[in-house]
């Protein structure tokens, strides 16, 4: 039982000396180690960073203070999913699509430039050691968010089957990375008319029937999330979904990134940046 401090007219609390306190979230200048175009839309960015930042886990994210592109002044940091983290080399990787002022600014970065990164942030994916086989379903930028799962699952002794969706085959990302970690990847695309929810459901039902789906992991598509919620309920399977929302602070202060979740029969408001971005599949609402 501690004694309640009396702040009345007493002397100011003393300033503590350098103590044992250490940050677990850092904002720091990271050096660009590699920055390449993956295809017409996506860029792959690798930066050298501190041990704290490189400790990022799959599903976590960083807030990037993007350089100002010509004629634009992005003010806030931009949330960016972790694409990969290497605690030994002390590097983190991002895979992003150039879509707005922030990512246009990122696109100007050259090897050797400095980028202000803040992280690791949020609650990432959880891998149960008992799972023998998981299924990852992603679309668009969601494929980048799911990417670190491939490595983590391999380390966990869990096999991964991925169903990746994109508008056209050449826009698929992360496929090689998943292959390199021994995952099987099935691609479905709009241009080949294979990406509809009915076809994805057929594919997923087959995996379930084959005993290859102990859990779902998904990001990037509300339609595909609903398919998995239906199947998870029907077969009693667990699942996790990484969600997106416009953010300001990224660290749970401002409540701008809230979404509704369905928890024990109630609608609950949660912060995507702090309570997520990874949530229980069954609690997520599109």
């Amino acid at each position: 039982m501690s004694i309640e401090p009396d702040y009345g007219m007493a002397a100011a609390p003393p300033s503590p000396g350098p103590g044992a306190w250490k940050p677990s979230i850092v904002a720091e200048l990271a050096e660009v180690v590699a920055h390449d175009a993956v295809n017409g839309e996506y860029r792959h960015l690798v930066v050298a960073c501190s041990a704290e930042a490189a400790a990022a886990a799959p599903g976590q994210f960083f807030q990037l203070l993007c350089p100002h592109p010509a004629g634009e002044q992005p003010f806030l940091r931009r949330p960016m999913s972790l694409y990969g983290a290497d605690p030994v080399k002390r590097q983190v990787e991002f895979l992003y699509k150039v879509t707005g002022a922030g990512t246009r600014g990122l696109d100007t970065l050259k090897v050797g430039d400095r980028l202000d990164i803040m992280g690791p942030l949020g609650v990432g994916f959880t891998l149960d050691p008992a799972w023998r086989h998981i299924v990852a379903v992603g679309r668009g930028a969601g494929l980048a968010t799911l990417a670190p799962l491939a490595k983590a699952a391999k380390a966990n002794g869990t096999r991964v089957t991925a169903v990746f969706s994109a508008r056209r085959p050449e826009l698929l990302v992360s496929v090689d990375l998943f292959h390199s970690h021994g995952a099987e990847v099935v691609a479905v695309t709009d241009s080949e008319q294979t990406s509809g929810p009915a076809n994805v459901e057929r594919i997923l039902r087959r995996y379930i029937a084959d005993g290859r789906c102990d859990a779902f992991f998904t990001c990037g598509s509300s339609r595909l999330m609903r398919v998995q919620q239906r199947l998870a309920k029907e077969f009693g399977l667990p699942g996790q979904v990484a969600m997106e929302q416009q953010m300001a602070c990224g660290i749970g202060l401002c409540y701008c990134c809230v979404r509704d979740f369905h928890v024990n029969g109630e609608i609950v408001n949660r912060r995507v940046c702090w309570d997520g971005p990874v949530f229980d599949l069954m609690e997520a609402l599109p």
């Binding site: 401090p5 609390p13 503590p16 850092v26 416009q246």
Partner: protein, 324 residues
């Protein structure tokens, strides 16, 4: 390290805000602080904690989008989502009591009586001061708030004063024409300090859709862009009242904090800067000490109202005379 710095090893950063002693003058602005920052900075280094505003009733907050950025600034219309008093007393207050930093609780209510009863209920161990947020532009229709007028400020402050013995800080709005008059009303009704100010009522429109960028249509502007405006209001209020002023508006650096103190602030609150640099507050504290060392300022309180206003010389009018 220069000569001045080696001569003087330390600076007294402590300030006293209406009876509340703080180890330094730097604290968060309400609504930009929560437990998450524990992972970024040592909470025992802050001057004070200031909580997100709480209300008696449960509030969902405003529809999304809740923020939009503009050059050098941010517009927010969060709308004070609140889990109510019980959650606050049972879950939030105990979280901060292990720290050796005073907890200032920001409160809001729709009526003066509501403010008073909430202040009374929260005058409990673990709470060091009450900050009455009578200036949120996002919860009343068309941005109206108690602090828009001296009379309503006087009434709500008087009721608050009668309801609590804790140091009472009243947070004013920059959206009224005569902030010093409102500050005088708060002082006259018993406030121990005024916070100048809150966000500036503002708006942004999306040029693709022609719709407002915020779900609430209007919101509060914050960030570096508003600093010169609020700094001027602190300067004006410092001439109008004797109680301490806590400056709040666009402070990102120690230099900004010094400017506010020179204008008349006894302490400062840091808000939007934390969204860009999460450790902004502790950086400001370190840099403030360095600034004082270099300028051979022994006590940070020596900065308060230190602005030098020189009497203007007689204007040279000769050029106005067309014949000379």
């Amino acid at each position: 390290m220069n000569i001045a710095a080696t001569r003087r090893k330390s600076v007294d950063l402590s300030v006293n805000i209406g009876g509340l002693a703080l180890r330094n003058p730097v604290m968060p602005a309400s609504g930009t602080f929560a437990e998450g920052l524990e992972k970024v900075m040592d909470f025992n280094r802050l001057g004070a904690f200031v909580t997100k505003t709480i209300t008696r009733e449960l509030r969902a907050g405003n529809p999304l989008p809740r923020v939009v950025e503009r050059p050098g600034s941010l517009i927010n219309a969060i709308g004070i989502p609140s889990k109510g008093v019980q959650h606050f007393v049972e879950k939030i207050i105990p979280h901060y009591t292990p720290y050796d930093t005073p907890l200032v609780v920001s409160i809001s209510a729709p009526t003066a009586e509501g403010f008073a009863s909430l202040a009374a209920e929260l005058s409990i161990p673990g709470v060091a001061a009450i900050e009455a947020n009578i200036s949120c532009p996002n919860i009343e229709e068309d941005g109206k708030a108690f602090a828009m007028r001296a009379e309503s400020t006087e009434k709500v402050t008087r009721e608050l004063r009668a309801a609590t013995k804790l140091p009472l800080w009243v947070k004013l709005t920059p959206n009224t024409g005569d902030v010093p008059d409102v500050a005088r009303a708060a002082e006259g009704a018993g406030a121990d300090a005024v916070v100048v100010a809150n966000t500036i009522l503002s708006m942004a429109i999306d040029l693709k859709t022609f719709k407002p960028c915020l779900g609430n249509v209007m919101g509060g502007l914050s960030g570096p862009a508003i600093k010169p405006i609020v700094l001027r209001q602190v300067f004006q209020c410092a001439k109008a009242v004797k109680i301490p002023i806590i400056g709040c508006g666009g402070i990102s650096t120690a230099e900004d904090a010094v400017e506010y103190m020179l204008a008349g602030a006894s302490a400062v609150q840091v808000g939007t800067a934390t969204f860009l640099q999460p450790a902004a507050m502790t950086t400001i504290i370190e840099d403030l000490e360095t600034f004082c060392l270099h300028r051979e300022i022994a006590c940070v309180t020596d900065l308060i109202h230190g602005v030098v206003i020189e009497e203007a010389d007689e204007p040279e009018l000769a050029w106005l005379d067309p014949v000379s």
